[in-house]
């Protein structure tokens, strides 16, 4: 598995990122080296080994009861832009 400019561009798309030319160059080298190292896992036989999953028998599930949530006005104070009790996003239609 070799990392090239096409893969970097695909990963930018998947990650919702736009890298600078300098970042692209650095990450191309870094990801190539790191992914080659990670590929060492392929040398281990894991046939019939279940994938780890985080499930407990005693999982702490609370009752499905409606309760009051966090204060809307306070939450909106953290929004970069808000109006009429809502987040403001650029027009899409």
């Amino acid at each position: 598995m070799r990392v090239d400019a096409g893969l970097i561009s695909y990963l930018e798309e998947l990650s919702a990122l736009s890298l600078s030319e300098d970042e692209k160059l650095r990450l191309l080298g870094d990801l190539d080296e790191i992914l080659q190292y990670m590929a060492s896992l392929s040398g281990l036989d894991t046939q019939n080994i279940p994938a780890y999953s985080l499930v407990y028998d005693n999982m702490n599930a609370r009752e499905d009861v409606a309760t009051s949530s966090l204060d809307r006005e306070k939450l909106l104070r953290n929004a970069p832009k808000s109006a009429n009790g809502m987040f403001v996003a650029p027009r899409t239609v």
């Binding site: 990963l11 998947l14 990122l17 281990l44 080994i49 985080l54 953290n78 650029p90």
Partner: protein, 488 residues
């Protein structure tokens, strides 16, 4: 006051020898005197802390008994939510964000009468092992300010080591409590996954993250852990029924009947000689205290780092997709379309290490590579968990180094991410298996920097680890050493 343990300080407050406001002021004075050289604190909320101190003093004066840590100042890593205090995760992405709720751990500390006085520096979004990747600059090691404090909870460890705060909260996803403790010569506990609620901890890798205490000795850390641990309706993975109760043993000195495993291959290669001899000496100390120490070969050692980074990055790429520039945090002024707001805000808001891990995560989860990387890593995680289960059939606990070397120079490893990742070799498998571990100082290296070792136990065996750590610290003086010099 700065020579007292947190428990001693609270006892002095209860005995009315020291006032709560006096204690808070003394620590704030200390921070103001030393933090410009350490960069451990990102904010100090003096007025809020003094107001809280006054309330706690009134309650204590009225005869309320809050906890063994009542009145003690505490500081919180800046990825754990404290209501009405900044929570930047040392990132531009969360600039200006102020949580409107307390993390459960913080809520419980406040209920126990502890006073939050500020937030602590860290690697950006807890992604790093040196506390250099944050946007507010590197945390300096109090033993030598040209060196890193470790990470990602470097601010927490440096603040405790320098006497700026008696206790701090950190978080540990792959060693982020234990490694900075080792680098700064302080004590910390990474609790069992599911012992402490993650509600209010900004998520990095949700199946690995745990909040835990950092302090000057195991008793202080145990007292703090017993306050923050236990079931919480806000975190379904927090399954510990009742908070830990570690009791109050009077100076235990013996470990008769305890079997400790020593992973022989952890000491074979890649470890500095000074670290190796200090950790071996710690094993001998426990042996002299009555424990039986037996060497064994740790299985799967070569697969721990790849499995950890695949899983951690996969979870990070999913968790960090919430930063969209709309609901909170940074929004790029340079975008006028919805997609543009997402991409520009994230590109301008995140630093390079965070982008690197998000992109690695996107890769290992992507179509065509999922099975070979992510699913494979989950299978390896099952094997590592099973290997530990079988080891805990033979041993009560495992003793190992925390890091292969001591604190390095700031900037020394910054351009080599893979080298940084390899530094986590002794810590990440503990998170993959969801186990508890206590990091304890055990000496000083050739360059005069602290060395730490860790005791790893089976799930929810914190009581055993605390007992063994108490024995070790009662027989040694390493946790009492304090940095001097120009930093302080």
């Amino acid at each position: 006051m700065h020579d007292m343990s947190a428990l001693e300080l609270s006892a002095a407050i209860m005995a009315k020898k020291i006032g709560v406001i006096e204690a808070v002021d003394a620590y704030i004075d200390r921070i103001e005197a030393s933090d410009s050289r350490l960069n451990a604190f990102l904010c100090v909320e003096k007025d809020k802390a003094r107001a809280k101190a006054s309330q706690i003093q009134a309650r204590l004066d009225a005869g309320e008994r809050l906890s063994p840590l009542a009145g003690v100042p505490v500081a919180i890593k800046d990825n754990i939510s404290v209501e009405d205090m900044q929570c930047t995760c040392a990132s531009n992405m969360l600039g200006g964000y102020t949580p409107v709720f307390n993390a459960t751990a913080v809520e419980r500390l406040e209920r126990a009468g502890m006073i939050v006085i500020g937030k602590l520096n860290m690697d950006e979004f807890a992604m790093g092992g040196s506390s250099e990747t944050g946007v507010f600059g590197a945390v300096k090691n109090p033993w030598d300010t040209s060196r890193v404090a470790g990470g990602s909870s470097g601010g927490s460890a440096a603040a405790v080591a320098s006497g700026e705060i008696p206790l701090a909260l950190g978080s540990d996803t792959g060693g982020s409590i234990r490694q900075p403790c080792a680098f700064c010569g302080v004590t910390g506990i990474k609790p069992t996954y599911g012992a402490v609620s993650r509600y209010g901890l900004v998520a990095y890798a949700s199946s690995l993250d745990q909040i835990g205490p950092i302090g000057n000795n195991i008793d202080d850390c145990a007292a703090m852990l017993s306050i923050i641990s236990g079931r919480d309706d806000m975190d379904s993975t927090c399954v510990l029924e009742s908070p830990f109760d570690f009791g109050q043993e009077a100076c235990p000195q013996r470990l008769d009947g305890i079997k400790i495993g020593l992973p022989r291959n952890y000491f074979d290669a890649g470890i500095a000689e000074d670290v190796k001899s200090a950790v071996m000496a710690a094993a001998r100390e426990l042996e002299e205290a009555g424990a039986v120490v037996e060497e064994f070969e740790m299985p799967l050692m070569d697969y721990m780092i790849p499995a950890y980074y695949i899983i951690a990055c996969a979870e990070a790429s999913s968790n960090l997709s919430r930063y969209d520039g709309l609901k909170y945090g940074y929004r790029s002024p340079n975008a006028d379309t919805l997609q543009g707001v997402y991409r520009m805000s994230r590109s301008e808001g995140f630093g390079l290490e965070v982008k690197r891990r998000i992109m690695l995560g996107s890769f290992v989860l992507s179509s065509g590579y999922y099975d070979a990387y992510y699913k494979k890593a989950l299978q390896v995680r099952s094997l590592i968990k099973d290997a530990y289960s079988s080891l805990f059939g033979r041993f009560d606990m495992i003793l190992s180094p925390v890091a292969p070397g001591t604190a390095y120079k700031i900037g020394e490893n910054a351009g080599d991410p893979l080298k940084m990742y390899m530094g986590d070799i002794y810590t990440v498998s503990v998170n993959l298996a969801g186990l508890p571990a206590a990091a304890l100082p055990c000496g000083f290296g050739a360059k005069g920097m602290p060395i730490g070792f860790q005791l790893v136990g089976s799930a929810f065996s914190e009581g055993k680890l605390v007992s063994a750590a108490r024995v070790y610290q009662n027989r040694t003086e390493f946790n009492k050493a304090r940095p001097g010099g120009e930093a302080l």
